[in-house]
């Protein structure tokens, strides 16, 4: 039986198809702000407990338990506390947070208010990806609506809880999705990661205890409060329950976003929801979780889509941006294109990422262009080793995914480039 059949309705995207789905009236007509009302009737500790029961793990990439993060921030005596919603959505191929914010902004806002209540935050920020200018208005309208109805501001719904939300527009840097760089950016500084410890839960934005959570993470919270942590914990795998919005792209018949329970197989996602490989071609490889996830191949189609299973297969689920490549794809070109992204996005702070990724890129370009030298493959591997484990932040480590993944499964294709002094697959993946 397919797991998807177990839940009849979606959780996160169950309202986006409604007419005027963004408006607070429609939201209220569909159980909107019920979770908040329930939460305010509980103590903050009880709210955190409920979320803990749900076993909700962060959807930003690392899968950190949400309730645990809130607990750390709540335990810090320093005030005021801040909740930053990470809406930078910078991972290539990812477009999940956008669906929520665009179609159901109140779902996020309600989640933020509840989270803020749970750990005692007074101020919330939505750090919004620069490339989503249209969402600024949508979010601000929703925030204003919520304020008018007394869900935001001072003394929310007659309680003594105060909470405000502001939208902060990013400036187009992938690194600013990393939580400490995001904090620097909100403070008006250059987007670069900070030294940890101290962790944001103790010393975050403006030096205050801060929780950074992804849009998708926070958007689950109102449902958990409404239906109970136990209900949520029962969806999908035990260690990683809930649904996931998969951003499916590449050579499939039906690219798009799909909310699916955690633990479905990639075969199901690609062949059933995505309609299979475009033009009846064969699958060559897929990247399960954004640019930094090493690629997997057809032998991994039955791997389950949850953090632990994908990690066991040697990749990572990350943001669930699933990129599919058919048999005509040149894997050297794939590595080159993705590495180019990381070279462009490296903040430049640490030596191995700044210098190493640039060197990798030049080698890949040379191999793809037919000027590869004997020994270039070994050098690629060694540069990866010299970067690995030595970068300041995870971006540099993530930058190795494309090279390492393609080298692992497609070394022969690299060698052919060297032998033929050029790309054996004429079509490539286009020039973008």
């Amino acid at each position: 039986m397919r797991i998807a059949d177990l839940i009849m309705e979606k959780i996160l995207l169950n309202r986006v198809h409604l007419e005027n789905s963004r408006s607070i009236e429609v939201y209220l007509a569909h159980e909107g702000y019920e979770g908040l009302k329930k939460a305010l009737a509980m103590t903050p500790k009880e709210v955190t407990e409920e979320v803990k029961k749900s076993n909700l793990r962060g959807r930003g990439g690392a899968g950190f338990p949400a309730a645990m993060k809130w607990g750390f921030a709540a335990a810090d005596p320093n005030t005021p506390k801040y909740l930053l919603c990470n809406a930078d959505e910078g991972e290539p191929g990812t477009c999940k947070d956008r669906q929520i914010m665009e179609g159901d902004p109140h779902e996020l806002i309600e989640g933020m208010i509840i989270a803020g209540y749970a750990f005692g935050a007074e101020f919330g920020y939505i750090y919004l990806r620069a490339e989503y200018p249209r969402l600024v208005g949508i979010l601000e309208t929703a925030i204003a609506e919520a304020g008018e109805k007394g869900f935001l501001g001072r003394g929310i719904l007659g309680s003594d809880f105060n909470f405000t939300i502001r939208v902060h527009r990013g400036a187009g840097a992938y690194i600013c999705g990393e939580e400490t760089a995001l904090i620097e950016s909100i403070e008006g500084k250059r987007g670069q990661s900070r030294i940890k410890p101290p962790f944001p839960v103790n010393v975050g934005v403006f030096g205050k205890p801060t929780v950074v959570n992804n849009v998708e993470t926070l958007s689950n919270v109102s449902h958990i409060l409404r239906k109970g942590g136990k209900w949520f914990a029962g969806i999908g795998p035990e260690k990683c329950p809930g649904t996931r919005i998969v951003s499916l792209s590449g050579h499939v018949e039906r690219p798009g976003y799909y909310e699916l329970p955690m633990g479905v197989t990639f075969r199901e996602v690609i062949y059933e929801h995505g309609g299979g490989i475009r033009d009846g071609k064969a699958l060559k490889a897929f990247i399960p979780g954004g640019a930094s996830a090493p690629c997997l191949t057809s032998q991994h189609l039955d791997v389950k889509m949850d953090y632990d299973s994908v990690a066991a297969a040697g990749s990572m689920l990350g943001s669930s941006a699933l990129m599919v490549m058919d048999e005509t794809t040149c894997m050297v070109k794939v590595a080159e294109r993705l590495t180019r992204f990381f070279v462009h996005e490296s903040c430049g702070k640490c030596t191995p990422c700044r210098e190493g990724t640039d060197w990798l890129l030049k080698l890949l370009q040379r191999i793809e262009g037919g000027q590869g030298k004997e020994g270039d493959l070994d050098l690629l591997g060694e540069i990866c080793d010299n970067i690995s484990g030595k970068t300041f932040c995870p971006l540099g480590e993530g930058a190795l995914g494309p090279v390492r993944g393609t080298l692992k499964y497609f070394e022969e294709e690299y060698r052919e480039h060297l032998r033929l002094k050029g790309c054996p697959l004429k079509a490539g993946i286009g020039n973008s």
């Binding site: 430049g348 030596t351 640039d358 060197w359 300041f392």
Partner: protein
């Protein structure tokens, strides 16, 4: 103090808690390579050179970001570590231009040194390096973008220590460039980003190709500009200065310098330096030998003394010259000439503060730079330390970085008011009523009862709430409070009295105090007795017997004239001869016309200087003197610290040190000082003025100071003919005539300009860059306009010290009746468009 135990490479050490691993290693002598870490900056963790293994932790860790904890076992040498560090070096070198051959940093470069150490680095990068060139957007600093190792030390030092935020990282990743960009802070030319750069990416443009270290001599000296007294390392090649750097984290400046200290040395080798004595013959200067000249001076002085008595001879000592020269100067005037008419330009500032200090019975604690750095609160009254005493300014910034608070009362908009946590914009000249109000609140002194708080408040221009808050500021946390006062107080009527009240307040509350001093040796010249009424050690004339015995001559009993009284006496024919050592009253003293007439009335004027200054041009004899680099001695800084320095450059043929000139002149006058060398001179001074550590023991008192009347008014008053109030400010880039001859400072800022409120400019129909004429009752000057929205309408601000436009010539020379200091902070002017 508790210690922690940590292990480096299986050897156990004990060290203090609270350090990072690299700090512990540095203290214990364990080597860990680095590019980005620097003790004085916050850690970055970027270069990844300092990777070490912590036992039990799988990944390598950066020593500069890892706190050292008790029981930690650290491995700094292993194959894995060596390979990782080598890899970082290979990355750094991949696109480095390797143009060491003509890089000014070669042999002082961390990249060279570490590469040499890891000699087995492979160079497998075989692509053409990214060309990015060198930028010259800073007039004094060259930024070579290709040599940069992205350690961000320059950014951090500029932001964290200098507070300028001028250099920033621009772009991203491999093409990140450390540059000054529009919208960033303004460079203050401290040059700190040059020193901290581990490679040749930030370079001193005055030095370019100046020499390799082994071709240079280096020696520590004391900066000749302001009262901070920073330790400078002079770098000479072929006996010529080529570069100045801070002493290596020594001295009061702890590795920082300001623009003047670093880039202001150009005057030393300026071609306009005097190298031969000049005697005016038939109205024209002719060069002469030293013997001939000194004999001529002696003969002329003797003749004047014979005809009119010693009381017609006066002397102006030097706030620039050494303690030793000033000591000899007053000894010369007192015993060789027989006159107490001795003063210096310290009269314009420190002498008034000193009068206030002498007139205070309570013992207030004088602060040190260290106290300022560690203070919780600083209150500045009438001073702009960021411009006048930049390293004191850095101490204030450091205090703020540690969470301290800076409050300032000043009618002007200055660098310091901009830095302050709170600025109280008092009315022009309102420092004294402000202090009276604070004293009334804090001292409960019946003699202050005739003043009314409401009157005082009205005079300060502050609300009574503001005044109450200021008074409360001094009540709390006094042990960690420092009061800084400057010329806003000392140059006001009853300024000395106000200083005295401020010191009493400090003493009563337990706060400490410090005076900002613009010139390097204002304090030393006074403490050496270059005062009309005080002998060395500030001894009163009543103690003269002790000095007469030591000097073997008689000292006149009555106090002499102060500076302006000498000038007035000259105009009245009561002073015939004046000996000026290293001062330029025609430029530096208020009321130029008055000064010029006074000097013109003299029968005989001797000027001893580095340059043919405007004052020297009026002299009968000009004696070429040595600069700080060419003589030895001590300067006394604003904390009272006596700082010795050696002579590091030989004097040019024909130039002599001040002290030597005075000794030889005394011999020519038949009362030769029995002094063999600088050491015997020092011994003599020490025997008369005992030292207490690095400071002089000064156990002296003066008369209590009289209070102003309750009806007294301060400030510029009203005058419809002169509708604007011009407030004088100081500039970091100018400090006397040396600075106007320093090419580096001229590059930093070429010209003075007057700040004009935008609304006033619109009424006057002038704009940015236009030239205007400022006219006061006393003079007029031409100056360019700069618009400023921060200053209030009806007010102008203009810096002193620029040779192209000197606001001193607009000032009156009204003297304070207590300190005989001229009031020189503001004047009423009108503006004419040119």
């Amino acid at each position: 103090m508790s210690t922690i135990k940590i292990t480096f490479d299986d050897k156990m050490y004990e060290t203090e808690p609270g350090l990072t691993v690299i700090q512990a290693a540095d203290r214990l002598g364990v080597f860990i390579p680095r590019f980005c870490y620097l003790e004085k900056l916050s850690p970055l963790g970027g270069c990844r050179m300092c990777l070490v293994t912590l036992k039990g932790v799988p990944k390598l860790q950066t020593a500069c970001t890892t706190p050292a904890k008790d029981g930690m076992e650290i491995i700094t040498r292993s194959e894995e570590i060596h390979k990782a560090r080598k890899a970082m070096l290979e990355f750094q070198l991949a696109q480095h231009p390797l143009d060491c051959f003509y890089c000014d940093k070669a042999t002082e470069c961390d990249l060279q040194d570490l590469t040499y150490l890891f000699a087995d680095i492979e160079h497998r990068y075989d692509f053409p390096p990214h060309k990015r060139g060198t930028v010259y957007e800073n007039r004094l600093i060259e930024r070579n973008l290709e040599r940069c190792v992205h350690c961000e030390r320059c950014i951090r030092v500029c932001g964290e220590i200098q507070g300028a935020h001028a250099v920033n990282a621009t772009k991203r990743g491999r093409v990140t460039e450390m540059r000054e960009v529009p919208g960033g802070g303004e460079c203050q030319y401290c040059g700190h980003c040059i020193d901290v750069c581990p490679v040749g990416a930030n370079l001193d443009r005055l030095f370019t190709y100046g020499g390799r270290p082994f071709q240079m001599e280096m020696g520590d000296s004391i900066c000749p500009y302001c009262g901070c007294g920073c330790t400078v390392s002079l770098n000479m090649r072929d006996e010529k200065l080529v570069r100045v750097r801070p002493g290596v984290d020594t001295g009061v400046n702890k590795g920082s310098l300001c623009a003047r200290g670093r880039f202001g040395w150009g005057f030393v080798h300026d071609p306009a330096r005097l190298t031969r004595p000049l005697i005016r013959k038939e109205g024209k200067f002719v060069e002469a030998g030293w013997d001939e000249t000194l004999l001529y001076v002696a003969t002329r002085l003797e003749k004047i003394i014979k005809e009119k008595g010693p009381g017609v001879v006066g002397g102006i000592g030097s706030v620039r010259s050494t303690d030793e020269a000033n000591y000899l100067f007053q000894r010369f005037l007192r015993t060789v000439i027989g006159s107490n008419h001795i003063d210096s330009s310290a009269r314009l500032n420190y002498a008034a503060a000193l009068a206030g200090w002498l007139g205070t019975k309570e013992d207030a604690r004088e602060a040190t730079f260290e106290n300022v750095r560690e203070a919780h609160r600083v209150l500045v009254i009438g001073a702009d330390p960021l411009e006048t005493n930049p390293i004191l300014g850095l101490a204030i910034k450091a205090m703020q970085n540690r969470g301290g608070t800076l409050w300032i009362t000043d009618p002007r908009v200055t660098l310091t008011t901009r830095l302050s946590n709170r600025h109280f914009p008092i009315s022009a000249g309102a420092e004294v009523p402000l202090i009276l109000a604070l004293a009334r609140a804090g001292l409960k002194d019946p003699s202050l009862s005739e003043f009314r708080d409401t009157d005082l408040a009205a005079r300060t221009g502050l609300s009574s709430e503001d005044l109450a808050e200021l008074a409360a500021f001094l009540e709390e946390d006094a042990a960690k409070t420092v009061i800084l006062a400057g010329r806003g107080v000392t140059q006001a009527p009853f300024g000395a009295t106000a200083i005295s009240l401020l010191l009493r307040l400090a003493a009563t509350k337990g706060a400490s105090y410090l005076f900002t001093l613009d010139k390097n040796n204002e304090r030393g010249s006074c403490e050496m007795g270059v005062l009309p009424d005080r002998l060395p050690g500030l001894a009163p004339l009543s103690e003269k017997a002790r000095f007469e015995k030591a000097w073997g001559g008689r000292i006149p009993e009555t106090p002499g004239y102060s500076a302006y009284e000498m000038l007035q006496a000259a105009r009245e024919g009561k002073l015939s001869a004046l000996y000026i050592m290293g001062e330029n009253p025609l430029v530096d003293f208020p009321d130029t016309k008055f000064v010029e007439e006074a000097l013109g009335s003299l029968d005989f004027l001797v000027v001893q200087d580095l340059f043919r200054t405007r004052t020297a041009s009026m002299a009968d004899v000009v004696l070429p003197a040595a600069s700080f680099a060419e003589k030895s001695g001590s300067f006394t800084n604003l904390e009272g610290r006596v700082q010795r320095f050696p002579s590091l450059i030989p004097t040019e043929e024909g130039v002599r040190a001040d002290a030597r000139i005075l000794v030889e002149l005394s011999r020519k006058m038949g009362k030769g000082f029995a002094l063999k060398n600088i050491a015997s001179l020092r011994a003599e001074i020490d025997s008369l003025v005992p030292m207490n550590g690095t400071r002089r023991k000064l156990e002296v008192m003066g008369p209590p100071l009289s209070l102003p009347g309750a009806e007294m008014h301060w400030g510029p008053g009203e005058d419809p003919d002169y509708p604007y109030v011009l407030l004088l400010t100081s500039s970091l880039y100018r400090n006397g005539s040396m600075s106007n001859r320093a090419v580096g400072l001229k590059k930093a800022q070429q010209k003075a300009c007057v700040l004009l409120n935008e609304g006033d400019a619109a009424v006057l129909k002038t704009g940015e860059g236009d030239k205007v004429m400022l006219i006061s009752k006393y003079g007029e000057i031409q100056v360019g306009v700069k618009l400023c929205h921060e200053i209030p309408g009806g007010t102008l601000q203009m810096p002193e010290g620029f040779s192209d436009a000197n606001p001193k010539s607009l000032l009156p020379h009204e003297l304070d009746q207590v300190s005989r200091t001229p009031m020189a902070r503001f004047v009423r002017v009108k503006i004419r468009k040119i």
